[in-house]
């Protein structure tokens, strides 16, 4: 059942649940951040409207910089501005930022330890018709392997707004992953958000000393699909010859630094875990968790994500279904693995 402490959207499982693009949350968040701190500046690489920096550019035109289609320049100019005390949000599509300018981010942002925020929008398969060249499925891996870099993947527009405001204050190089499409609003304004602190959103009732059958760690808008899958699996009877499966779902909005305390706690009390992300399995959020648990608490892991493939053109949620990342697809993969035991 949904954890009441998480203060989630009460309509989360309804068919008419409110939907908003995660990138919209960044758009409103960066205006808020700009209001709170006059040193916040925004740079874009010819994608003002689609990365949602337009509102900021109209409210603070002197603090908005159009760099043109030049992502390498984008990252390094942002670094230079940070050196003079600005808090720059350098925005473009994730495939180009950090895709194209990875080295500039590594050297001029991370190695220089400048508090630049790299905002990668249109990440994942849901970029849709533009096709595989534009669907970043490797960006979390690219950013998390760099020292000093904080990596955040918000689950909905409300969380994205909070994440934007929070990372403007964290004084660290930060990567913020956004996506294009309208996705379900999972959280509310009252849901807590702290960089580096994961949230338990769903947990079956278990007895003292009893283990969960599995915990799902999910990130991005797929948190919603994971919740739907968990709800249906936990209500079904007769699976695995049990009365009911005991499941928890945790929102990993911060890929780096991971909330290792919470992850360890749930790994210790679960028979196995699953990870769900709109990203290659190689190097993604699941991989990060596996690295940590392999050292501290080895446990069987079922990775759910993109299996070493590129994206392709299609309707956004048609692609999600084809790649097995909708709620049904997640359920199927989970059942296939837990039945094998």
């Amino acid at each position: 059942m949904i954890k009441p402490e998480a203060k989630l959207n009460s309509k989360i499982f309804e068919n008419d649940v409110e939907k908003k693009p995660i990138r919209d949350g960044f758009g409103t968040g960066v205006v808020k951040a700009g209001e709170e701190n006059k040193n916040v500046v925004v740079l874009t690489a010819d994608l003002n409207e689609s990365t949602r920096t337009e509102a900021f550019s109209k409210k603070f035109p002197e603090r908005f910089f159009e760099i043109g289609i030049a992502e390498q320049n984008l990252a390094s100019v942002a670094s230079g501005m940070a050196h003079i005390g600005k808090i720059p949000f350098a925005t473009s599509y994730a495939m180009f930022n950090p895709g194209r300018n990875w080295e500039q981010i590594r050297t001029t942002v991370a190695y220089n330890n400048q508090p630049v925020k790299i905002v990668g929008s249109h990440a994942g398969l849901t970029t849709g018709p533009d096709g595989g060249t534009h669907q970043a499925l490797e960006d979390m891996a690219l950013m998390r392997v760099i020292p000093n870099m904080v990596v955040i993947s918000p689950c909905d527009a409300i969380e994205a707004e909070k994440a934007t405001v929070a990372c403007a204050k964290n004084n660290q190089p930060t990567y913020l992953r956004l996506c294009r499409e309208k996705t379900p609003v999972i959280t509310t304004n009252e849901t807590s958000f702290e960089i580096g602190k994961a949230q338990v959103l769903f947990q079956s009732k278990i007895n003292f000393d009893e283990d969960l059958d599995f915990t799902i760690f999910a990130t991005g808008f797929l948190v919603h699909n994971a919740l739907v899958a968990a709800k249906e699996l936990s209500e079904a009877t007769g699976l695995l010859k049990k009365t009911k499966l005991k499941i928890a779902v945790i929102n990993i909005h911060t890929i780096k630094p991971l909330d290792t305390d919470l992850i360890l706690k749930y790994a210790k009390h679960s028979k196995m875990i699953f990870t769900v992300e709109e990203h290659q399995i190689a190097g993604g959020m699941g991989s990060a968790i596996a690295e940590f648990l392999a050292e501290k608490n080895p446990i069987k892991i079922g990775f759910i994500g993109v299996r070493d493939q590129f994206g392709q053109s299609g309707k956004p949620f048609e692609l999600i279904e084809k790649y097995g990342l909708d709620a049904e697809g997640i359920k199927k993969q989970i059942l296939a693995i837990i039945s094998k035991k």
């Binding site: 500046v41 320049n73 390094s76 100019v77 050297t107 190695y111 330890n113």
Partner: protein, 263 residues
């Protein structure tokens, strides 16, 4: 020589310009490297940092004796500059082509805070081989778009890069014409002539509606006849014998004056 690796030719070639900047032109305070009103110097061609480190030491940023630690484990004088290691270094560099972008970011931020009345200047040196990197040209376009009058670029036109002479490896041809067409104010000088350097910087500072670039024609390895104009000295260090010979030649200006220092 003590480090066992490093970049000789460019360090020697730019010594005059470094001297001019750190001992005459830059508004700075070696005892207050974070002084909020200082001019900024960005070394985009970070590999010639031995020249910069030596200049900074003599200017008082850190003890001259620390120069012996170049490239050694634990040293603040990293093989390529690391911003967070050494006070007075404005940015890390080494991977070529990023310095100008960063200098632009600094100039833009200063102008945002202080408007175009600012008298804080950002100086950025680039190598000529470095101009092969496309990011530089993104940066040239952007600086012209924003008419960055407080940005002054100095290109070390020494005609060498690792694989040979620049005009053989990747011809730059008429560099001045290229930069003029990008809407920069362009000057060409002898990079070893202090009067020309002084005049050019003065002109550059006086230009208001465009960023300025000074193409400094330099001799790589300047001052040691055996090193001069040879591409192989780009990334090579002298052995002990070569170092002794070179230091003697530099200190006596090719035998023209006496010098007591022997080590």
């Amino acid at each position: 020589m003590l480090a066992g690796s490093g970049h000789t030719a460019g360090s020697l070639g730019m010594a005059d310009i470094f001297t001019y900047l750190y001992f005459h032109e830059l508004k700075h305070d070696p005892k207050k490297p974070n002084w909020s009103e200082r001019d900024l110097f960005v070394l985009s061609n970070g590999h010639i940092c031995p020249g910069l480190y030596a200049t900074m030491a003599h200017a008082g940023y850190f003890p001259v004796s620390e120069l012996k630690t170049l490239r050694k484990f634990g040293s603040r004088l990293q093989g390529h500059p690391h911003r967070t290691e050494l006070p007075g270094i404005e940015t890390s560099s080494g991977p070529l082509g990023s310095g100008l972008s960063q200098a632009i970011g600094m100039a833009l931020a200063i102008r945002l805070d202080e408007t175009r009345t600012t008298n804080r200047f950002v100086y950025c040196t680039l190598g000529d081989g470095e101009l092969n990197e496309g990011q530089n040209w993104e940066a040239f376009m952007l600086a012209a778009k924003y008419k960055l009058q407080n940005l002054i670029v100095i290109i070390d036109r020494n005609n060498i890069q690792i694989d040979g002479y620049t005009e053989d490896v990747m011809p730059l041809n008429d560099l001045a014409a290229k930069l003029e067409s990008f809407n920069w104010h362009v000057q060409e000088i002898d990079g070893h002539n202090f009067e020309m350097i002084d005049d050019a910087i003065g002109q550059a500072k006086a230009v208001f509606n465009r960023p300025s670039v000074i193409i400094a024609n330099t001799i790589p390895g300047k001052g040691v006849v055996e090193f001069e104009r040879r591409p192989e000295w780009h990334g090579k260090t002298p052995n002990e014998e070569e170092a002794k010979m070179a230091l003697k030649e530099l200190r006596t200006i090719g035998g023209k004056i006496e010098c007591e220092q022997t080590n």
